[in-house]
């Protein structure tokens, strides 16, 4: 971002502007706390740069219509879509694009009613709550049920579209869901496709990413893995990925939760009178190797 200001006489320091906006720490936090997700981070930087430049432009009195920032996050389960949406709200708030910076997270249940005439007030209620912030619609493709043309979801979609268009500077709508289903959703609702400016795809994590994520998760719980456990977890990730219903970081979190359970059980049944702090905070290889995932491999072999 080394662009100079637009006016000839006045110069503006973009770096200074950037520092003033306070968005730097948020972006840095995003970099530090979220592992992998390179394309996502790049896109967020681009959006941040765009908003910053737009702000500088408006300082010079140049016409700059606020850009449309409705987004769609697609990716497999557990790739951090919700986490990034929360950060997005904060970033957009720092950049002054939205006024409050809160995130309202909803699914089909919260938008679509159960009987005729129930949907519109329900959807409007949610939109009202989201004003000035970010509305995050998880699994947005459920809003549209192709097989049932009388489904109330359509009504909700129409209201959403209207508000997305008319209240562009009041709220940002983020749609999230699995890539293939979202594709189908956008194809059957061209209105949505054209109103959503940013389509961000969340890639799957690599095995190394997942291992690093596991380390981060445990770090926040004051727990660590022994060297053997690290090795076991790496093997676990490879095996687990091959199994059905693999949900990236979420699967890892569940695996760690179960490992902690086994660790607690192991410590409890050992009844060691001199339990060290180290033993209390370390997950051993056996805690992980007891997992069903390993047993299945043995059975299969």
């Amino acid at each position: 971002m080394s662009e100079a200001g637009g006016a000839t006489a006045a110069k503006i320091n973009l770096a200074e502007e950037f520092a003033q906006s306070g968005v730097g720490p948020v972006l840095k936090q995003l970099d530090d706390e979220l592992i992998g997700l390179a394309p996502v981070k790049r896109r967020i930087r681009e959006v941040a740069a765009l908003l910053l430049v737009a702000r500088v432009r408006s300082k010079f009195g140049l016409a700059s219509q606020p850009p449309t920032l409705h987004m769609s996050f697609t990716g497999n389960p557990g790739t951090g879509k919700t986490t990034v949406a929360t950060r997005m709200a904060e970033i957009l708030h720092r950049l002054g694009y939205i006024r409050r910076g809160h995130l309202v997270s909803v699914t089909r249940d919260d938008l679509v009613g159960q009987y005729i005439g129930h949907t519109a007030p329900k959807t409007k209620e949610v939109l009202k709550k989201a004003m000035g912030g970010v509305l995050f619609i998880d699994e947005a493709y459920y809003l549209y049920r192709q097989e049932n043309e009388r489904d109330y979801g359509q009504e909700s979609i129409e209201i959403l579209l209207q508000v997305m268009e008319n209240n562009r500077d009041d709220l940002v709508v983020i749609l999230a869901g699995y890539a293939d289903k979202m594709d189908r959703f956008f194809r059957s609702n061209p209105g949505f496709r054209s109103r959503v400016a940013h389509h961000i795809d969340f890639p799957d994590y690599t095995d190394d990413d997942l291992l690093a994520i596991a380390g981060k998760m445990l770090g926040s719980l004051n727990t660590k893995l022994s060297d053997g456990a690290k090795q076991a977890l790496a093997e676990y990730i490879t095996l687990r990925r091959a199994q059905p219903l693999f949900a990236n970081a979420r699967s890892i979190r569940n695996a760690l939760d179960r490992a902690r359970l086994r660790q607690a059980n192991r410590l409890f049944s050992a009844q060691d009178p001199e339990l060290t702090l180290d033993a209390l905070t370390t997950i051993e290889a056996e805690d992980i190797r007891q997992s069903r995932v390993f047993q299945q491999r043995e059975n299969g072999a």
């Binding site: 409050r100 809160h102 939109l127 004003m131 009041d170």
Partner: protein, 139 residues
């Protein structure tokens, strides 16, 4: 005759921007904003009809304005007021209330004199609008 009740009623009508600012002040204080409407302008008429439920979980004034505009669309020919309720201990009452919408013609009140026993004079004010049935008063 211009009805003056609630805050700001001696000022020119608030613009939407001014309403937004007021509402945001209420929301920032954690008060629940509520919309009410009526076509009986008598000051003793305290029972206005509610437009939806009080807005407990709205964070931004724009959400309230959305409702206000929806209410104006349906009841634009009546009085609409906005009140904010403070539920905190010790207050537990309405902290602010102001009119956001008025009928085009405010006809005002008639003074009615009645003779009571021993030729005592009793006075009453009655809005011209209430001569007509509800719903047809300001059309």
């Amino acid at each position: 005759m211009r009805i003056t009740q609630g805050c700001f009623s001696f000022l020119p009508d608030l613009t939407d921007d001014q309403i937004l600012t007021q509402v945001q002040y209420c929301l920032d204080n954690g008060w629940a904003v509520n919309l009410e409407f009526t076509d009986d302008p008598h000051p003793r008429n305290t029972f206005w009809e509610m437009w939806g439920l009080p807005m407990f979980d709205v964070h931004d004034a724009k959400g309230v304005l959305m409702e206000l505009n929806a209410c104006r669309k349906v009841y634009g020919d009546r009085y609409i007021r906005l009140s904010a309720f403070d539920s905190s201990h010790g207050w537990e009452s309405v902290r602010i209330s102001f009119i956001d919408n008025r009928p085009k013609n405010e006809e005002g009140f008639r003074l009615e004199r009645t003779e009571a026993q021993s030729r005592v004079q009793r006075y009453a004010t009655r809005a011209y609008a209430t001569d007509r049935p509800e719903g047809k008063r300001y059309t």
